[in-house]
Symmetry: D2
Subunit: 333 residues, 4 copies
């Protein structure tokens, strides 16, 4: 099902090449000021091309597709006189610039790393293949809009995510160079995003199924292309001793933060901290050998069009949005 | 809330030092043969001491506490004439051997890595502190029992998890030595568990919120002490190029498995494969410096009793159970 | 929350005087043929004025407001090439003809029978009072649209509702006369709707919380203005003896149908049959004495505008839609 | 599924002739004092025989079966030192006195009014037929226990239900006579229960799907044997004019209460008031003609054992419990 959350619930709909893509937010408290301009910064951070690069403070514009999408949030309901009413808040982003390439070919020769194959098996001919249909990364656009509202609910609780590595390289100074070289090869790069949450109250989350880590990881793995998540010391914790990994309490709460902000699934007042692995963009210009289901043989696939060399550049604000959505739900329970 | 699942739903209850610990399973199909003996193998694999070590084929018995728990599954409802009826299936494990240590001290001087602090803030004096109360790792015992039933629902879909590293060491031959040395220091170790699922049908999961990875990670992070999860190439994917990480299709489906079994959140027929980082056991014999909330100063904490040197040894069957619960739910939808 | 259903879930949004009113349907099976014209009949049956009267086969047009609303279903997502894709299906009805009367007055002097008072207490100044805001009966319009899709899912299972009494009168021949007289008085009338479902498979529903009657009544009481529901013999059953009310089985299933189609909450193959009491329209032209919260005294309220004399005339298709939504959910589980 | 509620969620399990019958309550606030004795009054009100009659203040003991059930609430978890801890609260009632009659016969010749037939079609041979299995009215016993806790959550909000008619007779003075005569005929009687809730805060419930009436009716129709529910003026409203049925506001809120306590699905501060129709007990001593599925012919069924002449006598406390569960959930949201 396409909903998430208990007391603050988001429901997504739409296809990348249909009429539009949207989200319904249920459980938004009344009285939050909201206008279209509130979405600008976060939507720009998710954008491709020069607009996105500028919003993210990148040195060059290599790395994301120069293609421009219509990214204007259109509020359909739940806002009156510039404030939320408490009724369901629906937002739609209309699609345009949707030159429909011949996506049908991908059900014959599915793109490696894409959902073409599983979609054709699961939904057969009724799947909308245009632009990935309902699988499109464009669905993360209304998620970012929902994140803007979730952040308003969070108030002083601040969620920040940033890209800390591209293609294994943590030296920002070398990123443009790396991106250019990879783009020239017709290849793509992944990255690591680190997300932190400050001013977290003690007591969010529940033991077991509704642990802070359970809910955050659930939301994060909903973002297309995520391969891993780790909290605090993460995978390194598995190689540490208890005396190293344990977080003794000090005067102001946990002194280290090996756990990443939660004990027993419940926030302990320390910074929530986790890292997310983003895979390299699946669509690459480079020729790939894959199966041709029609002809029953290995065949050469060349994906046309202009794609992100590194979608991870655009992902931090989506990670923030998902995290804010989870925390808003926990705070409103 | 203490439930998980849509069509196959588990609800847990109980405290480690109360009357018992249990689980209610809703959505179990009728007609599955079930007897008490069906639980024996998996429960033994979760056990401590000699019983657990034997069930897991360990060379020695160092690593888990020699303390023996009452681990007999008692079916309260949902089974008639040796078969499930389709009605809710309730299982209880009665507690015994519960020498109540002075747990109240831990609300004054919370154990590093434990939920003592968050519980005392969240629930105050009404929390049951004995043995960790509802936070106890013992809650994973009914989860293992539920996993046994979930595995029966899965039929030919086989879930297997095993420990592949302890304290950073992947050489099994050295584990007993490492465990002994660490136990002698009064310290503890974590580990890495790898879980695979074979014979997965194409099409389990949904794009976005109900992706296979979202649901599995949600369930896995419900297990106390998990620090990270990664699918397929995992964190290494973030340093790979698209041409390396992508999974081209071959005659029999995906030829590599960089994604770990799902595209666009939906199983693609390849083996589901993920790794989980388990933290070192929080309770250690070694003295720890932590905050004394009553006296308002750093103090020395010595935790008495016999604890697991490496709880990760007992965790693989819990990872299997959680995974089976998720997949059973997806298959029954 | 504004969602309903487990496997077939509808989520509503919108205000009567905002941009529009809509619904998102999750869990729609793929491959159902769907075009805008499919909605015409049922939407016309819910319409006011001449259009509605014609669609319902009424003799005259007295009874509903002559005001014309924009009732065109606009599909935003989930349909491709004239068939559902399995992705969320969003439908919006844009609003027009929304002369905003001075609705603010109703928070000072709340209309008897309306939600003005509870809304002003619950949401204060952030409530959108125009046209009833999110409380508007217009929200039932997207419900009717969802019902059209639910009916397609039901296939051969046929849901039919009809008005069997107006203002206590079961003689259809006298209805126009009664409506005219009541309209002339500036007053309004309620009615009784009977709903039947034919070709119901045995086995829908669950004992207790998901009983057929529980789910249907839940959905029916979501329609504004419902005062009661009874199944089969209904309230008369309370005055019958067991030997009269019991349904003996015959060669073709239950021979009577005192229960209204379900035993133990589960459909028994007989016709599902229930009756619903609809209150008289709350907005009446007649002067009413009610409380003026600003002046702290009893005051005379005169509600302007043209309202339905008997909204129950328009309600049967809404009852059908709600019933079809419940049964589609049960069939898809 | 066998759960109900969002923030206060109950999950039932058990069969009448199995080990026991129980309930798990999730979302119980911490710090509520609770002991076994708290359940005594309400459980006695649900009891049969002399114990129940005394608790309900009946003149004689005719009307319910003299059979004595083990009705002792056994708390398994969620309570520590006489107070709730906030963890899931599990209660079990062990079964005894379960002379297993030959229930298997009822899958051949299903009892009119019972779930024997639907259960055999839905679950086939895996159904537990003993004593109605999971369909048993005995499942309402843990519901009553949950109601006791829900009432504690409600505090000053008081739920009271009473039987106002038996077999169509509202004159209490004649009930024992009527019950005796009906019992002598081997027949049974139904009744009408009226439930009121006082001191209701304004603002409980939501427009549409989570309306107060939707949630209450959902819960009430979960009780076996309910045929109808009506709020306020109920079915009579359908024959009233708007000017009669409307509730004008006075100095202290609504002056009449034609709506039964809610406008637009939201409590308006007036007394919540509804009536419930309970069918006559299905099991009667009188011979019934019904279908013999084995022999393919009409046959005579004689149901042995001692049954309630009028189960409605025992139902008011169950109606209270269900209502309290709904309101506790709404208050805790």
């Amino acid at each position: 099902m396409n909903s998430f959350g208990l007391s603050f619930r988001v429901s997504i709909f739409g296809e990348s090449h249909g009429e539009g893509i949207g989200i319904v937010l249920d459980g938004v408290p009344q009285g939050i000021s909201l206008s279209g301009a509130d979405f600008d910064t976060d939507i720009a951070r998710r954008s491709s091309g020069a607009r996105g690069a500028a919003a993210r403070g990148e040195i060059g514009t290599t790395g994301t597709t120069p293609r421009i999408e219509a990214d204007e949030a259109h509020i359909l309901s739940g806002v009156f006189n510039g404030h939320t009413t408490g009724a369901p808040l629906a937002i739609i982003f209309h699609n345009n610039n949707t030159r429909s390439t011949d996506y049908q070919q991908f059900s014959i020769m599915p793109r490696p790393g894409h959902a073409d194959y599983v979609a054709s098996v699961k939904w057969g001919n009724d799947n909308d293949p245009r632009g990935g249909g309902h699988f499109s990364g464009r669905i993360t656009l209304p998620i970012v809009a929902a994140g803007v509202i979730a952040k308003k609910i969070l108030g002083n609780v601040k969620v920040s995510a940033e890209l800390i590595a591209i293609g294994g390289c943590e030296d920002r100074g070398k990123w443009q160079e790396l991106l250019k070289a990879t783009a020239a090869e017709g290849d793509s790069l992944g990255g690591i995003i680190e997300c932190t949450v400050d001013n977290v109250p003690v007591g969010l989350g529940e033991p077991f199924f509704d642990s802070v880590e359970s809910l955050i990881s659930h939301a994060i793995f909903s973002i297309p292309g995520i391969r891993g998540i780790e909290f605090g010391d993460g995978f390194r914790a598995a190689a540490m001793k208890g005396s190293e990994h344990n977080d003794p309490f000090g005067e102001c709460g946990p002194e280290k933060n090996g756990c990443g902000g939660a004990n027993g699934g419940i926030s302990n007042g320390a910074q929530i901290k986790f890292r997310v692995a983003v895979k390299p963009t699946s669509s690459i210009a480079k020729a790939q050998q894959t199966w041709n289901f029609e002809e029953g043989r290995i065949d050469t696939l060349r994906i046309k069009g202009r794609h992100d060399t590194c979608f991870a550049l655009r992902t931090p604000v989506i990670v923030e949005a998902m995290t804010a959505i989870v925390l808003a739900d926990l705070i409103l329970r």
